[in-house]
């Protein structure tokens, strides 16, 4: 039995309905643990004070904002190459989640920026790239909603996602080239020097796991919704 079988709507509906309950429990567990531990169980940072607690929402959402796009890219490629309908719908389902994650990262970042940098918004490369990512999501979603025929829409959004990924990457380099920023570098790396302190690290891992699970869960639910709508449209078309 190959993985591709789940590209069939019926199979997918069956599998996902069995997965969702467990997944929901896990998601809530991880999120609650991570956030409660992070919010109540960590000390203040010597430099950033209590604002460091924002990291437990900021970093996971920032990661998911990027990963959601990655997942959309993979799903788009699967649609373009193997034409599995569920795959296209999963990409469509992920976009609103991705854009929400982007907004959370931007929002928490902006709020964090006020005490740290003295302004909600600065044209720092990292922040700017996120703004650009936001626009990519916006364009992707607008394109989905502008086209009636679902297969055409899937084709075009997939192509856009592909080209968009290339240019998002280019923008990232361009933006770095354009401006040196204020934002800290990646600190989830294995390099011990840059690593955030362990007291923040473990709850952060829980939060990240929670966000990942939440993403998977929501993608499943939303894909199911899209499949239902698609089936309803197909039935309606048959009944005219």
């Amino acid at each position: 039995m190959s993985l591709w079988e789940y590209a069939n709507p019926v199979k997918f509906m069956g599998l996902s309905s069995r997965l969702i309950p467990t997944l929901s429990v896990l998601t809530i567990l991880c999120l609650v643990t991570g956030i409660v531990w992070g919010f109540f169980g960590t000390p203040d940072d010597y430099k950033q004070g209590s604002t460091v607690k924002i990291i437990f929402l900021h970093v996971p959402s920032a990661l998911m904002a990027i990963n959601a796009w990655m997942m959309m890219l993979v799903a788009s490629l699967v649609w373009l190459i193997r034409r599995h309908h569920v795959s296209a719908l999963a990409a469509k389902a992920a976009a609103p989640i991705g854009i929400t994650m982007t907004l959370i990262a931007l929002g928490t970042g902006a709020i964090w920026g006020k005490p740290m940098w003295g302004t909600y918004w600065a044209w720092d490369p990292r922040l700017t790239s996120f703004m650009i990512l936001f626009v990519f999501y916006l364009g992707y979603m607008a394109l989905w909603s502008a086209i009636e025929d679902s297969d055409t829409a899937a084709d075009l959004t997939s192509i856009l996602c592909m080209i968009g990924s290339v240019f998002a990457l280019l923008s990232r380099y361009a933006v770095n080239f354009w401006n040196q920023g204020l934002h800290q570098g990646a600190s989830l790396s294995l390099d011990k020097e840059q690593h955030v302190d362990d007291t923040f690290y473990y709850p952060l891992l829980f939060c990240i796991a929670g966000f990942v699970l939440l993403f998977v869960l929501l993608v499943l639910i939303r894909t199911r919704t899209e499949i239902r709508l698609r089936r309803a449209a197909a039935l309606a078309a048959r009944n005219v």
């Binding site: 364009g139 075009l156 923008s171």
Partner: protein, 218 residues
Amino acid sequence: MLALFLRDLKLAIRTGGGFGLALAFFLIVVMFVPFGVGSDLTLLARIAPGILWIGALLACLLSLDRIFQLDAEDGTLNVLATSPIPLSGVTVAKSMAHWVTTGLPLTIAAIPLGYLLNLPSIAYAWLFVSLFIGTPALSFIGAFGAAITVGIKRGGLLLSLLVLPLYIPTLIFGAVTVIKAVEGSNPMPSLMFLAGLTLLSVVIMPFASALALKANLS
């Protein structure tokens, strides 16, 4: 392909002037800036490279929807799709015609308009070169956006939304080239990036556009 290229040029000239109008738009956008921000010359000089690049980009953007929409509406695109020219060839011919009728005149017009904005004199050569090298990327990327939105009636704004983020790297490398020149530092690295970007667009965009057109044919 040559026939298509020449016809597109002819149509651009015939339809109330493809050349003249992108230029006029560029001129007016650049003119609006002093109205909007005041006429302080040092301020204008500082923002001149950016404004010129942004103005050229917007002027270019405004004519993108012509690239495929007109041909789709009167059935020409359907016939072209069954003709000996492959769809990627169609895109190349049309992108090139678009560049000749907008990118090229904009590049040339940028020089006198730079004077209006008090651009420092060392920067003119770099402005010209960066626009000359950068605007083809704008046309090829724009053709891709036009190919994607061709099925959508008057998708002009959607087109802009899709295309503008794709334009960001070009804008940054282009404007940075001129800014570096104004500041007296070395503009070559960003110019090289810009050239790379244009090459990349010229190579991959026609195929992406052909895919999009194929998907859009009804």
